[in-house]
Each structure stands twice: as C-alpha cells, then as structure tokens.
Amino acid sequence: MSKDKSEIPYGTLDLLILRTLETMGRLHGYALARRIEQVSGESLQLSQGSIYPALIRLQQEGWIDTTWGVSETNRKVKFYSLTESGRKQVAVEIANWEKTTALVARFLGATP
C-alpha cells in the first residue's frame, strides 16, 4: 500500500456513501465501495468492508433503503438507494462539511 494514500477523514464516510448513492442511484455494496474508490482517484485508503457498518447505521436512521436484487455473479444481494429523508440529509451533511472546511481554511489562512 503506497504511503501517499490517505485515510478517510473521520465521519466523512457517511457523506461519501450518501453522495454516491445520490448521484448513482441504486447500488449494491461492492459497487458502492468501488465507486467511492474510483471517484477518489484511488488516492483513498478504504477497507471496502468498512462501508457495511456505516450502511447499517444509515439504514437505521432511515436515510437509505434496501431492496433485494441479483449481482453480476448471480447471487442474491442487497441494493441500497437513497430515501426522501436521505436526500435531505445529503444537503445537511454537505452544508456541515462546507462549514467545517471553511472554518479550518480560515484558521490555516490566519497563521503567518
């Protein structure tokens, strides 16, 4: 594993998942993990398995929904998609993220 790959910033995996589902629609777990890796340009060190605990939490919050479907290998798998309240949550999370980055940027800019 190369050293220039960075860990996912704490608490942002939820946002990445929600945002990916918002743009891609319905996905199964593997496709979701791959998609996140591709978008990040392979610069992210993601254990693909770590999306599953995040997914169950988002599902319990009611932001994503699951349906059963068939994978490319003909296996019965869960497909995830955004719910109505999930869509709203994406907006909230994005706003939070921007607020945080703006704040941090201001601090960094202030240092001489």
């Binding site: 777990g29 398995g49 169950i56 009611g62």
Partner: protein, 880 residues
C-alpha cells in the same frame, strides 16, 4: 440518537440471527465480485482471492463493528454475562451458598427492621387524618401529665375554636352476665364527640349522639369489632339487642369497623360518659381529653389558645393549680415516644452495621475468588476480551449474587416479621399491621443496589493490565500485593465495625444487669396475681364491697398450698396512676401523693419491712377512725415541707375518692406507720410519695388479688377460682399474671433492644472472624515456601504459630483501635436506653475489646496451626 434508530436497534436485538446471516451473504457476494474483477485484470485465481480479501479489510473486526452499530451491544452482553455468571455460580455451589447466605442475613435483617419501623413509626395511625388528633392535658410540672377535671373539659370544649371536636374519656370495667360464664369487659366511658375525634366509622349501627349523654338515655353501648366477633360470636343481629352489664340492661347501638381499636382487650366497648352532679370539681382530675384539630392549625397554635383559655379561667381555678400549664401534643408523637423511636433507630443502626460487615465479608470472598480466577481472566484478555468487557462481566456476576441474596433475604425477612408480630402488638397501643409491602420491596431493592455499589466494583478493579500480564507467567504462587492489602484493610474495617456493635451490646447488657439488680423492695417469687372488678349493681355500698374483700381473703387463704393472700388496688413494680393530695394543718399547699389501697396482708405478702408505728390492720374497717401508712419518701417530704419529725400520730386531711363515684371528699386520717419504699416506677424513676389506705375503709371496685403459695401457678389459680366462686359465682376473673411476669413487663422496654443488639453483635463478630480467618489462611498459603525455608533453617513450629498469630493480631489491633474510636463516638446515641451505665463505660469497652480480640486470635489460630504442621521438605519442592 433518533427514536427511529433506537427502535431499529432494539429490533436488531431480536433479529440478531437473521441480520448476521444477511451480513455473511453480503460479504460473500462482495468478495466474489471483487475476485471476479481481479481475475479480469489478469491475476491468477489465487492472487485474485487474496487481493479481494486484502481490499476488503479485516472481516471479523468489521462484523464486530457491524453488530456494535446496529444494536445495543451492551444489552446483548448483559444477557450473556448473566447466563455465564449463573453457570459460573453453579459450578462453585459452596461459594455461592456462603455469599448468598451472608447477604441474606444482612438484607433480611434490614428489610425486617424496615418493616417494623414502617409499621410502628412511619405508617400513620389507622384513623382519618391521624396527624390532627391531639391529646390535651394539664401539666403540673413540665413533662408531667395530669388528667382533666370535668368543669375544665367543659370549659375547654365551650371556649376553644382550634378544634373540630373534643372528647373526654374515662376507663370503665363491667361484668357481662347472662350468657354462660361471667366475662369482664374493659371499656371506656366517652363523650359523644369522642368518635368524631377518633373517626373510625361503624361496621353496623351508629356511634353516640348528644342525646345518649342525657341521664336515662345512657344505657347504650358501642362494641369494638373484635369484641363483636369474640364475645358475641359475630352475631349479625347484634344492633338493638340488649345485653346485661353489671346487672343492668344495655342496648347495643353499633359495632365499629375492624382495625383501629381491635388489637387489645383494653377497650372492647364504649358507653356514654355522664358527668354526675358531684363531679363538677376543678380539683378532681379523672378525664382524658383528645381533640381533632382544625385542618389549618398546628398543635402549638392550639396550645397557645388553650393557655389563653386557662388564663381566662384563673379566677375559678383552685390556687394550687395557677402554675399548671395546658399542653397539646399530637397523639402520634405521644404514642411513639422518644424512647421507642430511639430504640428503633438504634436497632436499625445495628442492622445497617451488620449489613456493612456482611458486604465487607463478601467483598473479601470475591477478592479471594478473583485471585483464583486471575488466570482465566488473563487468558480471556489474551484472546481479545477488553478490560471493560471483563469488568462488566464480573459486575454482572456480583449483581446476580446480590439479587439472589436479596431474594433469600426477603424470605428471611418474612420469617422474622411473622415472629416479630407479637412483640409489635405489645409496643403499639393501636392495631398496627406488620407486613412487607411494596415499600419494603422498594427498600430491599435499594439495599441490593447499595450492595452492588459497595462490592460490585472490587473484583473488576482487580483486572489491571499489569496484573493480568504477570498472571500468565506466574505459576500457582499467585501473590499480589495490591489486592491482598485491600483484603487486609477490609478485615480491619470488619473488626472495627463489629467492635462498635459489640461495645453497644456490652453496654446494654451491663445496663440490663443493673436493672435486674435494682432493689425492688419486694419479694416476688411464688406470687400470682389476678384482677377483679366489682359490679356496682351487685355491691352498691362500700360496706358490701368491704365484706366481699374480707370474705374473699379468708376463703383464699384457706385454699391448700396458699401461704399468704392480700388485696390491693395496685401491684408492686407497677405505677400508681391515682394521684391525690394530703393537707397538713398550717401548710397552704397540699402535698401530692400517690394513692394506693391495700389490706392488712400486703406487707407480709411482699415482705416489705415496717419502719415505724404499725401497718394497716384488720380492725381498720369502714366506719372506724381513718388511718393511713406512708412510705419513707413521704415521711421525708413531710419533714421537709412541714417540719414533721415523726409523722406517726399526725392527723392530715386526705382527698378520698367516694365509693362507686368519681367524687372525692376530704377525710381526716391519722398516719399510723412508715414503711420501706417499694418500687412502683420503672428503674431510674425516683420513688414517689405514697399513702397506703385501708381497702376496707375506703373500698373501690377494681382490685388485684395477690396470692403467695408453694404450688405451681396453675393449681393455685384453680383453687382461687373455686374460692371466688364460693363468694360470688357471677364475678369474672380478669388478667392473671405472676409477679415475675409483672416485673418482666416493667423491664421489657430495656431487655428487648439489649437482646436484639446482642444477637446482631454476635453475627457481626462471627462474620469478622470468618473474614479474618480467610485472610490469614491465604497469607499462610502464600508464604508456604517462606515458612518452609524458615523451618528448614531451624524455626520450630511454635515460632511459626507465633509468626502467623502476630500477623493476625496486627490486623485485630488496628481494627480495635479504629473501632474503639467509632464506639466512643456512637455509643452516646444509646444513652437514653442505658440504666446506671455511662455510654463510655470503660469496663463495657474493655469486655468488648477482649471479646473481639479473643475471637480474632481464635480465627488466626487455625491457619497458624496448619502452617506449623507444614513439612519443609514438601513445601520447598512444590512448584514455584
């Protein structure tokens, strides 16, 4: 966390299996897809499988995280721990039994004591708004209560505004005849407002109305529920029936509701109180007055009003009563006086100490067990269990133990409570139900939580990372300084706490011995007493009564086996409720005296010495010149206030109650003799001044028959009953008691706490000894090698015993020092219960310390002897 998520997580608990299966499926599918992609990128199948796994990350840790996220993991854990804990406790039944037993002892005693306290002090009296019921009385001196005169009561009732109702009562005793054997019924004559004060309600019929108080209408009675059931066979048609009391027909107008007034035989019926013409005297005190306060007033406010009324009545009040004060106090407070309250709190304190010691003991056992389980814990840590998980598991085990102990304690408490009910009946004048209700259950729950709080953390504290690490390297030697020090401190605390209890018990027992040694001034062995009440109807004149007394005494003395017989209004060792006064010529203030009627046989029956002059004789009869004998205290009082050097021959004026009446007249009587003081009050209360009046000269209706004999009390009573039947076949016998019983009753208030606390102290000392034994045994086990080396180097078994005992004594000594300090601070709480012993009595402390020290040495001796028998050649070869 949103509600949505909480619900989802709870659901996940239930759907655990399904969710696990779904996750497995997702993982498999994910790996399959990843492997396919890897193959497509040109890897070999083997490489592809490995790449897929690598990209996925740790599968097991992800599953753990998934479970943590999706449900309440701790709930799952608690349930698993409980099952594991129960299984573990089952594997070590001896340990479990001891811990549960010790806990049951501590919790059971506390719950039972709470039940008692709740019934006696915390629960309200069984009347409507019991806190508004007050007693009203005149106090000649602070702390002394006096009965009330009829005119004062009527004025109070007329002038006061602080009360919704005010009622007066006076005890009566009547013979019920006409249905089998005559029965004596004790009751109260009450004014019509009485049942508005003590609002208990009727089961059937009605209570009194003002018209029942009018002369001619007063032959009506109200029955207590208990009397209705036991005496009248629960006759449903009792209301309006007529019964014969003292030869006179009375109509039953009502039966009270069960409860409040059912406990004792003191009051089984009520009749209207009719104040006779001659009873309107302010100097004649015979009524007990109760009032029901208006809802917005306190007893103190009512008292102020009553004092203003007394001030307004000053002109009509006899001058010697001008300094008297009116008191108003809540009945609840009066019934559960300071003494009862204090002894209850003291006993509660004692059981709390027992509980603390029980906890200390269990903490000790748990620590010892923890030491034995260090390896198990170490292995589980090595296998990946977190410290907090292990701690939680140990805490759950303690919780299971505490709950089991609580359940066993509850059972023990129920048993104790059913045994304590008769004692309770003696303590409380009204019906008090002693049962363990939801309040007791809540209390038991609180105790169990307290126990878990106190000892639950200890075993968990033992698993510190360093400890665990070293445990795996250690063989069976297993010494660990830290927790061993903790066990030693716990034993010191146990010894200290027990010493406090043992000190208390030792003080109370010394006090009890003092009480038993109190000079009663009377011989009480082989004396049986019976109470009798003459119906006025059958004995309308004083002569008739006097004749009855004389013939009864002649008959009784003729009963085979009877050596002495006497009649008296009051027994020795029994307070004389009748207070009168004597007037000495030339002295303005009358001298207050206790008034006791006796016959000529009284002195001999109790062996009371005559000091001067003569005692009452057979010739002092109704109509002959009035005479009295007095006690030493009165002789001294007369010398003090009137300068009378020799009272014998002195003639004084004496207020004498008139036979069959509540009136009193002043009679001129001659003092013929002085006798030694006999004890009439509880120990610690000084002897009052007493006049002894010839029963035949001033007869009354209620007397005690006193019989001394060489026979057992059963056959004496049979003989005496026969003698009584020969004199009057219609007269029922009241309470029968031996003088020993009378004395026990007088002392009971002091002996019961002493015995209870003695038992608690014994339990505490035993628990402390067990704790000490455990710790010393463990020390000896840990130092086997050391002892072996010492013995190999020439130490004799004697030296080893001394060495181990020194260790034990050190713990005991520190415990005794701390405990003594605690006892010094705490024993003064028992001050009011002690008689003739200072709360800091050095002898009692010394005895307690000596007792604890010897218990400590005994507990150390067993392991010491085991150590002395060690064979060095064996110990030194042991693994280590």
């Amino acid at each position: 966390m949103t509600l949505h998520r909480i619900f989802a997580r709870l659901m996940a608990l239930v759907r655990k299996r399904q969710l696990d299966a779904e996750l497995e499926g997702e993982i498999a599918a994910h790996l399959e897809l990843a492997e396919r992609d890897a193959l497509a990128s040109g890897m070999s199948p083997d490489q592809a499988r490995r790449a897929a796994r690598r990209l996925f990350g740790g599968i097991e840790s992800m599953k753990e995280e998934h479970r943590d996220r999706r449900s309440f993991r701790w709930l799952e854990n608690v349930w698993r721990d409980v099952r594991y804990g129960v299984a573990g406790l089952g594997r070590d039944p001896g340990f479990t039994a001891i811990v549960v037993g010790v806990l049951a002892l501590g919790i059971g005693a506390n719950v039972a004591m709470f039940g008692l306290l709740d019934a006696v002090i915390l629960k309200p009296l069984p009347f409507t708004d019991p806190d508004r019921i007050v007693r009203i009385w005149e106090a000649p001196r602070p702390g002394v209560s006096n009965a009330t005169s009829a005119p004062d009561f009527l004025d109070w009732r007329r002038l006061s505004t602080a009360f919704e109702a005010m009622g007066a009562e006076s005890p009566v005793s009547m013979a019920l005849t006409g249905a089998g054997d005559p029965v004596r019924l004790d009751g109260r004559a009450v004014t019509s407002d009485y049942f508005r004060v003590f609002d208990v309600g009727v089961r059937m019929g009605r209570t009194f109305l003002p018209r029942d108080e009018e002369p001619g209408n007063d032959s009506v009675i109200v029955l207590s529920n208990a009397a209705w059931e036991t005496v009248f066979g629960a006759d449903p048609g009792i209301v309006n029936r007529r019964v014969i009391l003292d030869g006179q027909s009375h109509e039953v107008i009502g039966v009270l509701r069960p409860g409040a007034f059912d406990r004792s035989e003191e009051t089984r019926f009520w009749k209207p109180l009719v104040i006779q013409q001659g009873q309107y005297k302010r100097g004649m005190h015979w009524l007990t007055v109760h009032g029901r306060l208006r809802p917005d007033l306190t007893p103190l406010q009512a008292r102020d009003e009553m004092r203003r009324i007394a001030e307004a009545l000053r002109d009509v009040t006899p001058s010697h009563k001008h300094t008297w004060l009116v008191e108003v106090e809540s009945v609840q407070k009066l019934l559960f006086g300071d003494h009862l309250r204090q002894s209850m709190y003291l006993m509660f304190g004692a059981v709390v100490l027992v509980l603390l010691i029980a906890c200390a003991n269990i903490a000790n056992l748990l620590l010892a067990k923890g030491a034995a389980r260090r390896k198990e814990m170490a292995i589980r840590t090595a296998l990946g269990a977190s410290r907090s998980r292990l701690g939680a598991q140990l805490l759950t085990e303690t919780l299971v133990l505490a709950v089991l102990g609580g359940a066993a304690g509850w059972a023990l408490a129920s048993l104790l409570v059913s045994t304590a009910t008769p004692f309770l009946a003696e303590m409380v004048p009204y019906t008090a139900t002693l049962d363990l209700d939801y309040r007791a259950l809540a209390f038991a729950g609180a105790i169990v939580s307290l126990v878990v709080l106190l000892i639950g953390g200890l075993p968990a504290m033992q698993i510190s990372a360093a400890n665990i690490g070293s445990s795996l390297h250690q063989a069976s030697r297993g010494s660990s300084g830290g927790h061993h020090r903790m066990r030693r401190s716990i034993v010191v605390a146990e010894v200290a706490l027990s010493l406090v209890l043992v000190c208390g018990a030792s003080l109370l027992f010394r006090s009890l011995l003092n009480l038993r040694a109190v000079e009663t001034g009377v011989r009480i062995e082989n004396v049986v007493t019976m109470s009798l009440n003459l119906p006025l109807q059958a004995y309308p004149t004083p002569d008739a009564a006097a004749l009855f007394f004389e013939s009864l005494r002649d008959r009784v003395i003729a009963v085979p086996g009877v050596s002495q017989a006497s009649l008296s209004t009051h027994l020795p060792l029994h307070w004389i409720g009748n207070g009168e006064a004597i007037e000495v010529a030339g002295q303005e203030a009358p001298v207050k005296v206790r008034f006791k009627r006796v016959d000529a046989g009284y002195l001999d029956a109790f062996g009371i010495p005559l000091l001067k002059g003569r005692f009452i004789a057979g010739r002092d009869r109704h109509g002959s010149p009035g005479v009295i004998a007095i006690n030493e205290v009165l002789a001294a009082r007369l010398a003090e206030v009137a300068g009378v050097r020799d009272p014998v021959g002195l003639t004084v004026g004496l207020y004498c109650p008139v036979y069959g009446d509540k009136r009193a007249t002043t009679e001129q009587v001659e003092i013929v003799g002085v006798i030694r003081n006999e004890r009439v009050a509880a120990p610690g209360v000084p002897h009052p001044a007493v006049v002894y009046v010839p029963l035949s000269q001033v007869p009354t209706d209620g007397v005690k028959l006193i019989v001394r004999s060489g026979l057992d009390s059963g056959s004496v009573v049979a003989g005496v009953r026969e003698a009584l039947r020969a004199v009057d076949p219609h007269l029922p016998v009241g309470e029968i008691a031996t003088m020993r019983e009378v004395r026990e009753r007088t002392l009971a208030g002091a002996s019961r706490p002493a015995w209870l606390i003695g038992i608690f102290a014994g339990i505490a000392a035993l628990l402390a000894a067990i704790g000490l034994y455990g710790v010393i045994s463990q020390t000896v086990n840990q130092r086997r090698r050391e002892m072996g080396i010492r013995m190999a180097l020439g130490a004799r078994s004697k030296d080893v015993v001394r060495y181990v005992l020194r260790d034990a004594s050190e713990l005991v000594l520190i415990g005794l020092v701390i405990g003594s300090a605690g006892a010094f601070a705490l024993t003064r709480l028992a001050k009011s219960l002690l008689f003739g012993v200072s709360p800091l009595d050095p002898l009692a402390f010394l005895i307690a310390c000596a007792a604890m020290a010897s218990i400590g040495v005994l507990a150390g001796l067993l392991p010491a002897r085991r150590a002395a028998r060690l064979d060095p050649s064996v110990t030194l070869r042991e693994e280590g």
